[in-house]
Symmetry: C2
């Protein structure tokens, strides 16, 4: 058994050229829930200037289905975003901290150390509010500005996040450069400094390493994997590149390995068609093109 966090409404749509209307986002989230998703990154509470495609976060949260057992995650970068997410009624928050200073500077004119301190403040608020909080460590596998990222930087963020009360820590291959050996090194490092946290991993298939990384993370014993319906998301640093690992391809792989995911492959496959129509191009997921097996 491994859990899957559906990130298409946030990391997927955030990096697409076409910006979907609120109703189309709610439809995507509704379809994901229909296919069995129990944790969905439904919105990003980042300043609209930084991520215009997510400016309607509150409106999305107002309209999403809220069935029992389904948790809507709001991505936040700071206290302001956290307050917005709480007001919007999210079930949990995901606080992103980049492991590389180059990425921290480019996105938020800051440093890893400073943004870890910002995360600590948010984590303290979440703890006192009893809200489940994840810290996702971006650029854990490599940075578009700094190149290689020392695993010790990732582990240090994890250590501080766990000490500040993060319930879950995610290692994220933001630009899709990682390989399975890195997955194990980083997860071992996180486990060592944060033995009690829930572990999660986030992969992009930019260089065709994403599914091998997901299998490596599963075999390591990771609790949750992120993926995106249709494999949408692209990569802002490589315009021709593909996006997040595709939920349907991941579920196919895991279920055929005998691993339960709780998701329904037959219900997932049509979502790619919905996304292809909505985004105006054929999304990168392969299972919808090739068909499930055995048929």
């Amino acid at each position: 058994m491994v859990g899957i966090v559906e990130v298409s409404p946030r990391d997927g749509l955030q990096n697409e050229r076409a910006v979907l209307e609120t109703g189309a986002k709610v439809e995507l989230i509704t379809q994901a829930i229909g296919a069995g998703a129990t944790r969905i990154e439904s919105a990003s509470f980042v300043h609209p200037k930084l991520v215009p495609a997510m400016a309607d976060a509150e409106a999305v949260m107002e309209r999403v289905p809220r069935p029992e057992g389904v948790s809507h995650i709001g991505l936040v970068l700071n206290r302001r975003g956290y307050d917005r997410a709480v007001s919007a009624g999210v079930d949990e928050v995901n606080v992103v901290v980049p492991a590389s200073d180059g990425f921290a500077k480019a996105n938020q004119n800051s440093t890893t150390a400073e943004l870890t301190a910002v995360a600590e403040e948010v984590l303290a608020e979440a703890a006192s509010a009893g809200l489940f909080a994840t810290v996702t460590i971006a650029t854990s596998f490599g940075c578009p500005f700094d190149g290689e990222v020392d695993p010790a930087r990732v582990v240090e963020v994890a250590r501080r996040a766990a000490a500040a009360g993060a319930k879950e820590i995610a290692i994220a291959d933001t630009i899709g450069v990682g390989v399975p050996t890195q997955v194990r090194t980083l997860l071992d490092g996180v486990r060592e400094v944060a033995p009690d946290v829930i572990t999660r991993a986030h992969f992009h298939n930019t260089r065709n390493t994403g599914f091998a990384n997901a299998v490596a993370a599963y075999e390591w014993g990771v609790d949750w994997l992120d993926s995106s319906n249709g494999g949408i998301g692209g990569c802002p640093f490589a315009p021709a590149a593909t996006g997040n690992i595709a939920t349907e391809d991941l579920v196919y792989t895991l279920e055929r390995m005998g691993v339960r995911t709780g998701l329904d492959l037959a219900a997932l496959i049509p979502i790619a068609e919905y996304l292809s129509d909505a985004l105006g191009y054929r999304v990168p997921a392969l299972l919808p093109r090739a068909g499930a097996f055995p048929g």
Copy 2:
């Protein structure tokens, strides 16, 4: 260290809509050698009616570069093909036997058992000629006609092939349905009945499982992996699907894991552009779109 067999000239081009001229095939093989390929499946000696794109096998072999240390492999299905391959001057032969009767019937109006006997005859000829011979077990991971394939069928072909003198046995996921657990089960099974043979594995990325399978095979200890420049090859049973795992993406993955392949990534990347131009569409390999890392 793991070896890579370049299969774009055969399995790649065989399944493309565009048929390349002999000179363009020779150019592809020349570029592959320039990037460090030492084993290349350069031609298929199958009846031209069955595979029209490979009808110029002899002409290709006449014109390919033959530097020291480079081995040109000819694919054969039977004694007639074997004789043609030998006359054409191949360095080694690859005898294909499908593990499923449905595939054997559709392609050659035969059965696995009958085609294993055909392979045994070819292997005896190769042994007496001192020619290196591989048996590739097609549809080892699943069959487009029979569905699931019992691993015992694969192992039985391997047992007979090894007994008949095959120097190498390859398990092939002909239609790209396999997952890492199958990789290990099948390789374990082959190893048990053929402890001394060289092992090789052949994956398609039809459902985004190909690179995870390749990593699983490497970690199991496989000696050789097949891949195709540009990830060309498609899948005749799923017209929209992608093809063989891409050599450049595989080399990126392995080298970043610290595994030497003997191939030069910088020399591989431009081959995708050559193939895209020659075939008239953007080939599926991802590294040429995203760029190597670190840059």
